[in-house]
């Protein structure tokens, strides 16, 4: 079922890319155009290992850049066997509070799933969602919202 859904998502992305001409009616969630790609808010778990990945509006799909970041995190975790992490999932402020809590949980879990496919035991990774409650950038701008749609990997205490 999950697999089917991913295929559906991919199809939607493909279709919306083809239909770029009709962009004004395209659903925001379908594209990955509003994923933050900068480094302004990013911190580092270790040299070269970014602590966070970003998402498109209403989406929990990982981008190529996100997968790259998570592979580096997995690598780092493999080298530091005693280290456990918490993945904090977040949403932007442009949604209803309850749905955003669920969405944050889904985002953090899609990062967790990816770490696990790279050999990190699920026991080392816990997940918490903050929904829209803890923005990193408090402005009401598309840039701020894109920085807030994130999953952040924190070293567990």
């Amino acid at each position: 079922m999950k697999f089917n859904k991913k295929i559906t998502n991919l199809l939607i992305i493909a279709i919306s890319t083809l239909a770029l001409g009709a962009c004004s009616t395209a659903k925001k969630s379908a594209g990955s155009g509003d994923v933050y790609t900068g480094n302004a808010t990013v911190e580092y778990l270790a040299s070269g290992v970014k602590d966070r990945v970003f998402f498109a509006t209403n989406s929990s799909a990982l981008t190529t850049a996100s997968r790259d970041t998570l592979r580096k995190q997995a690598n780092y975790l493999r080298k530091n066997k005693g280290l456990n992490v918490v993945l904090e999932g977040h949403a932007d402020e442009r949604g209803t509070r309850e749905y955003n809590l669920a969405l944050g949980e889904k985002r953090a879990n899609s990062a967790k799933d990816y770490l696990m496919t790279y050999g990190i035991s699920g026991k080392r990774v816990s997940v918490i969602s903050y929904g829209k409650e803890k923005p990193v950038n408090s402005a009401s701008t598309p840039l701020a919202w894109s920085q807030n749609r994130r999953s952040v990997t924190i070293k567990a205490k």
Binding site: K27, A102, V136
Partner: protein, 445 residues
């Protein structure tokens, strides 16, 4: 008390044989509010002091609480007291109807009170000025410190008599009080009377708290707390302050609400990236899973008969509103307009579902019938969500946030209410910024 009920019943009989009584049509909004004169209550000279209450002013204080209630409905126009033509005690015995009609009043409220032996005795009458007759007369005895509640109960009785609807003034609103920067918001549970008086804070702000909801059957509250950084649904008794976590779930539980009989909590449980809807019976502690779908299912709300549930799901791709039977069968999507939909909540009358709609960068509060037809958007704004019904199903309270500049400058969160007619949109004043309001049922039933 029996005697009072007797009086009430007797008068009710009297209305039925009367002619040309005033009626307020609540379905039309505030186009033509009814002029009403609310006379200060006469304070009996034999009244004794009670604690730090200003007994001499108590008659005026009670009448201004009533006046404020009526003004807030948008259906009534309380007249300026300077124009009043009769002293409160004389008017209460028998008004000179023609004099009151001269100041354009159509209804008149009079009353008197006595504070004696640490008891407050209040009596009031509602007069129909056009028909020159009494419509309601009622008396209450209580402790003097309860005077605001007396004012609200009187307001409810008058509202009920004039509109034919159940009142909603003797109620409270629980909400989340917000202070501090947007990135470091401190949130506390807070409760106030529906008119904004008597604010009390129920938590200290040490942990994040969200979405408090009243039990429709009593004064219990369910809410979500990040206590010890474990986001879970809690149950709180606001009289005793005792709270407990609901159920034993190995992950986040959120979006709680009570069933209409108050015996169950319905909520979402999130695990491995998937949120589904569950109920827990508060007595047997029995947990039931209601939805089983790989998409997000949240914001569940029971119909008032308990037979159906409306909820929010993105199983069709984006957030939409669905209904199902309370056992999880017969799932039906009911929202089909342009845009996406969240936070469905069933009216206590059963006829409507209120929701938040998001479309083209705007947020709307609206209502639709429970089969999804008859969608009406009541208010549009930059950001607003989470409607909660007044107990009579006539008004929605929700919260609204403003757009913020750099570093969150200019950000506010406030409570607002609107009639389901789409009229009478107004801010509910709170001591701090506020969100996630939930309206209690009537305290005196």
């Amino acid at each position: 008390m029996k005697k009072l009920i007797y009086i009430f019943i007797f008068l009710f009989f009297k209305f039925n044989i009367a002619h040309s009584l005033i009626e307020v049509d609540i379905t039309r909004g505030n186009l033509d509010p009814l002029p009403i004169a609310i006379s200060p209550l006469h304070v009996d000279v034999q009244s004794e002091n009670y604690e730090d209450l200003k007994i001499k002013e108590l008659g005026s204080l009670i009448s201004s609480v009533i006046e404020n209630n009526f003004k807030s409905t948008g259906l009534f126009n309380p007249l300026n007291k300077d124009a009043f033509v009769q002293k409160p005690d004389i008017a209460h015995l028998k008004p000179r109807f023609e004099d009151w009609r001269l100041i354009t009043a159509q209804a008149l409220v009079t009353g008197k009170l006595l504070v004696k032996d640490d008891k407050l005795k209040v009596e009031f009458r509602l007069w129909d000025l056009a028909a020159s007759q009494e419509m309601v007369a009622l008396a209450f005895t209580t402790t003097p410190s309860n005077w605001r509640r007396v004012a609200h109960i009187i307001s409810d009785k008058i509202y009920e008599r004039l509109t034919g609807e159940t009142g909603y003034f003797d109620t409270r609103i629980i909400y989340v009080s917000e202070t501090g920067l947007k990135t470091q918001r401190v949130k506390k549970l807070a409760i106030m009377d529906q008119d904004g008086a008597n604010t009390k804070y129920l938590t200290l702000g040490n942990e994040l708290v969200l979405t408090p909801r009243f039990n429709p059957a009593n004064q219990l509250v369910t809410y979500m707390s990040y206590f010890r950084n474990l986001p879970r649904v809690y149950l709180l008794d606001i009289e005793t302050g005792i709270q407990e976590v609901v159920g034993n779930f190995p992950g986040m539980t959120f979006a709680p609400r009570f069933s209409p009989d108050g015996k169950k909590i319905i909520m979402s449980f999130a695990q491995d990236g998937n949120s589904d809807i569950y109920t827990m019976d508060l007595e047997s502690r029995l947990v039931e899973r209601i939805t089983e779908d790989s998409s997000i299912d949240t914001s569940p709300s029971f119909s008032p008969d308990g037979k159906y549930i409306c909820f929010n799901s993105d199983r069709s791709g984006l957030q939409q509103i669905y209904t199902m039977k309370s056992d999880g069968t017969e799932v039906k999507r009911i929202s089909f307009g342009n845009g996406i939909y969240g936070t469905p909540v069933w009216s206590p009358r059963g006829d409507l579902i209120a929701f938040t709609k998001m479309r083209a960068g705007k947020f709307y509060i609206g209502v639709m019938r429970s089969d999804g037809t008859g969608e009406r958007l009541l208010t549009e704004n930059y950001y607003q969500e989470a409607p909660s019904w007044s107990p009579n199903g006539r008004i929605l309270v929700f919260y609204r946030e403003t757009k913020s500049g750099k570093d969150g400058a200019g950000f506010t969160a406030k409570l607002w209410s609107i009639d389901i007619t789409g009229y009478n949109e107004r801010e509910l004043k709170t001591e701090t910024d506020a969100s996630d309001p939930s309206w209690s049922s009537l305290l005196s039933k």
